[in-house]
């Protein structure tokens, strides 16, 4: 039932951590090469959507195919950027060692990293612009550099699909620009990108599609068409502000980074 041009296909899909579904009745097809911004209030199911695509949250109903197969089959071609809040930021390893973790799955238990593994790590560091920081302890990098380092790790699997969970949270302007550049470069390489965000500017800067979520799919379509105030209002249940013709969504409350919205 999946078509060759679809990166992710959901039909009446529901996702649940065991209890009531966190996200239900989602029908959407994300085409290969698309860049999609997932937008919705806190707890609306953005992370659940990403974890569902990774196969980490159970499909409670409906159908899901990722890169033409099951989520688990697709995993080796999927890159995932964790939220920075979920990693140990003082971990005693170098940036290069963090990026090499992306190769662990194919290295298995004992195999030593080959020239190819090392090249993939070096290339990924280059793509995020952190080659010069490679040997620094991870804990000595700035939050933005750590975030870009985690993106580099996701790139070492040479992903066809890249999933990002709030990648711009707490980034300063310089790191934000660097990350935007990397994502736009990946788009030109044909990588499909799905990113959760509460930053509508990111949607405009990198994405060509927007998905509005609030426990179910509110809307999916081209950026400007989908970010109409009426739809965004419906997604955020009227808790938004208007700036000219643009809707401004409330910042995530659990992260008190006030500098990522200018």
């Amino acid at each position: 039932m999946s078509t060759a041009s679809a990166a992710i296909e959901l039909k009446n899909a529901s996702f649940s951590y065991g209890g009531a579904p966190q996200l239900s009745d989602v029908t959407v097809t994300i085409k290969k090469g698309d860049a999609v911004a997932l937008i919705g209030p806190n707890g609306s199911g953005k992370s659940t959507f990403l974890k569902g695509v990774l196969g980490l949250v159970d499909l409670a109903g409906g159908h899901l195919s990722v890169l033409g197969g099951s989520p688990r089959d697709a995993l080796s071609r999927v890159g995932y950027l964790s939220q920075l809040t979920e990693v140990d930021r003082e971990f005693p390893v170098s940036l290069r060692q963090v990026v090499m973790m992306g190769r662990y799955r194919s290295l298995g238990l004992m195999r030593w990293p080959s020239r190819r593994d090392k090249k993939l790590v070096a290339d990924a560091l280059d793509k995020v612009g952190l080659t010069e920081q490679a040997e620094k302890p991870f804990g000595e990098l700035s939050g933005g550099q750590q975030q870009r380092g985690l993106l580099a790790r996701a790139l070492t699997v040479e992903p066809q699909l890249l999933l990002l969970d709030e990648p711009f949270n707490g980034l300063d302007q310089a790191n934000r620009t660097a990350l935007l550049q990397t994502l736009n470069m990946l788009r030109t390489e044909g990588v499909t990108i799905v990113t959760s965000t509460h930053d509508l500017q990111l949607a405009r800067d990198v994405c060509n599609r927007v998905m509005l979520l609030n426990h179910t799919l509110i809307a999916y379509g081209p950026v400007e068409e989908t970010l109409r105030i009426s739809l965004v209002e419906k997604t955020f249940e009227h808790s938004i502000a208007h700036v000219g013709n643009h809707a401004v969504v409330p910042a995530a409350h659990e992260h008190d980074h006030d500098h990522d919205h200018e």
């Binding site: 990774l54 980490l56 688990r72 995993l75 080796s76 999927v78 995932y80 964790s82 939220q83 979920e86 990693v87 140990d88 971990f91 005693p92 390893v93 170098s94 060692q97 963090v98 973790m101 992306g102 662990y104 799955r105 290295l107 238990l109 004992m110 302890p137 804990g139 000595e140 985690l150 790790r153 699997v157 999933l163």
Partner: protein, 295 residues
């Protein structure tokens, strides 16, 4: 410098067996303790330590010192499985660990109190007898300690990735349960190996303190295991030497296990002090604005 003061005691077979014992434990604690530290599993480790106690007691009641190891291993593995499952549920796991900890410890005391020479048995189990380790016990400690190291060493990359980023770990297609289970078993094995020498109470220091010392000294993963191992080995060696000389020349009989732990803790205190001094001296300007602005 004449080192005979530090080397002479080990001409006695019981002293050299004790030295090999603490060196084996030092290596195992360097490897296993690192991930206890990285994953903040100190409390689970405490739970495992106490859960091993009734195993030691039952093994001892059934077949004396030969029964210590099998009894402890069985109890340790059962506890590792229970604690792995409980801690995965997250909410309330601290309470569950505390229940396992207190429950199993009191069970052990009840069983050991049925023995006629109850007090000396209890002392042996709680505080260990590194000087009375027999050759067969030494071999048991070497085998169990090596198994603990192997369990972690063979899954090193998984343990590292899981400690750093659990959600990234799962997103790469790894399953957490086998990795966690294996690691908790490795802790249990180290507890079993260490309990015979240092006793069931003091073995906790061996699980936690060497790695904590290493974390203060280096931010490079490759250095942490050697530093922790050296810290534990040094404390073990000095503890044995001190214990030997105080009993020979001063007629005191301090428990060598306690001396080892005291020296280990002193080493930690010194390292902490040095760490504070160095970080104040070297990065005062970088640290100050963070302190005033971060709170």
């Amino acid at each position: 410098m004449d080192l005979s003061f530090f080397t002479d005691p080990f001409v006695y077979p019981f002293m050299s067996r004790a030295l090999i014992t603490v060196l084996v434990l030092a290596v195992a604690s360097g490897v296993v303790g690192l991930f206890i530290n990285l994953r903040n599993l100190e409390f689970i480790s405490d739970g495992l330590v106490h859960a091993v106690f009734p195993g030691l007691v039952v093994g001892f009641v059934i077949s004396g010192t030969d029964g210590l190891l099998p009894g402890a291993l069985i109890a340790g593995v059962i506890a590792a499985v229970i604690l792995t499952v409980v801690s995965r549920r997250g909410v309330g796991s601290d309470a569950a660990i505390a229940v396992v900890l207190a429950g199993s410890f009191s069970l052990g005391i009840v069983i050991v109190s049925r023995e006629t020479n109850y007090v000396s048995q209890l002392e042996q189990l709680l505080f260990g007898g590194v000087l009375t380790v027999t050759e067969s016990q030494l071999w048991q400690i070497i085998v169990v300690g090596a198994l603990a190291v192997l369990m972690v060493g063979l899954t090193w990359r998984r343990q590292l990735y899981l400690s750093f980023d659990p959600s990234g770990f799962r997103a790469s297609g790894y399953r957490t349960l086998p990795t966690e289970l294996l690691f908790n078993c490795a802790i249990a094995f180290l507890v079993v190996a260490g309990s015979q020498a240092l006793g069931n109470l003091l073995v906790l220091a061996l699980l936690i303190v060497p790695a904590a010392i290493a974390r203060l000294v280096s931010k490079r993963i490759g250095w942490l295991v050697p530093i922790a191992t050296i810290a534990a080995a040094l404390s073990g060696w000095l503890g044995l030497v001190t214990s030997f000389h105080t009993s020979v020349s001063a007629g005191l009989t301090p428990s060598p296990g306690s001396l080892i732990v005291i020296i280990l803790i002193a080493l930690y205190a010194l390292t902490l002090l040095a760490h504070i001094v160095v970080s104040r001296l070297i990065v005062p300007r970088r640290a100050l604005p963070q302190l005033s602005g971060g709170a």
